[in-house]
Symmetry: C2
Subunit: 228 residues, 2 copies
């Protein structure tokens, strides 16, 4: 039988409780998604800060955990790691109202989460990374910036059209699809995107931020470790 | 209760059976994923061929169905459309062995499917589109090609490392994660990628092609309609 029971951590082979460990960079929108979901669900976790700008996600030690060299990464059982922010969201939110299991609701939440990774993150996320986090990034990425802006605005247009008729992205309630899309949209203004022409998106951003248990992008749990 | 029952089509309001309609481009790897899954599952469907090179996915009529302007698109109920190839795979394969529902198996299948949309499709898929389908595409995209090759080879390296120790990507069996990753990997050689140095990937490609019910990329069902 599928296990959709809510859960708050991993177990070792004897079944003993082990707290999740999340490898995350404070400035990464993809990492923020998972921190936001865990905070919202009240799931305790240990945070390991990985400084991606210093190459900490490309060390041999980190690549042994995630060969793709990205954060976030969740240790779901001793030495068993789950990558890809949106897959982690489905995992940690399984069994809660944040992860719809009704067939069409689930499909539509997934649709928006694949849209996020394919249309939003590579454009608005990339622009955010280079413009907001990297000194001199604008000059370094001048050739790519035009594409990111064009595709990013197109993506925002698709979201605006949906939100003009819906309070949330799927299942008529706040779900992990909203968390996934919120991460980079709420900092799009730091990446040259002007949200003035997207009133439905701005209202939705406010609605997400007003959800109980919401935390800001720089929120961290108390248990924090830094890795090289 | 979640509905995970196998199914072979949509229903109208009275519950009457309506065959799925799939909007697809014959040359699109993302569209091929869905055709392959439906064929493998023996699910009948009506195919509407959308010539994306002629702009047929950007007409007002098509954008009314999918504001993001992409194929594949599945009509799951009258005038209700599901987009994003990997979300469609989860939808049509729900309740079958192709879609793992065990908690960690499902998470790992999703991990690889998000990896596919974020790391594989935008590099190997983009290179395939411009090099194999567009006359003069190599010259037009010379500036992007170097990035696609570098990122594409990195992606293939991650897949090779996994397949060196596993027969399939998730759940220790053939799933929709394999279908998602197969679509563009099996035509990577048409996009300048040399798979000679990826023996585990080549064996996996053969394994997928040997699965019962496999169809080639140019396979079509008998019910076919073309749209402008």
């Amino acid at each position: 039988m599928p296990d959709f029971a809510p859960h708050i951590g991993a177990s070792d082979r004897s079944g003993a409780f082990i707290m999740y460990t999340l490898y995350s960079d404070q400035r990464s929108g993809n990492s923020y998604k998972v921190r936001l979901a865990l905070a919202r669900l009240g799931i305790p976790f240990k945070l390991v800060e990985v400084d991606i700008l210093q190459g900490a996600s490309r060390t041999p030690e980190f690549l042994a955990k995630n060969p793709n060299g990205h954060v976030p990464l969740l240790e779901v059982a001793p030495n068993r790691y789950l990558a890809e922010s949106n897959a982690i969201l489905w995992y940690v939110a399984g069994g809660t109202t944040l992860a719809p299991e009704d067939r069409i609701d689930r499909a539509e939440a997934m649709q928006w989460m694949f849209f996020e990774q394919h249309s939003l993150e590579p454009n608005i996320g990339a622009a955010y990374f280079w413009l907001a986090l990297i000194k001199g990034g604008r000059e370094l990425q001048q050739h790519a910036l035009e594409d990111w802006m064009e595709n990013g605005y197109r993506t925002l247009g698709v979201m605006e059209m949906h939100l003009a008729g819906h309070r949330f992205f799927a299942a008529d309630r706040f779900t992990i699809a909203d968390i996934a899309l919120y991460a980079y949209t709420h900092v799009a203004n730091q990446a040259d995107f002007d949200l003035a022409r997207f009133p439905a998106i701005r209202e939705w951003l406010d609605r997400v931020a007003a959800e109980p248990g919401h935390v800001a992008m720089d929120w961290q749990p108390e248990t924090l470790t830094a890795v090289q």
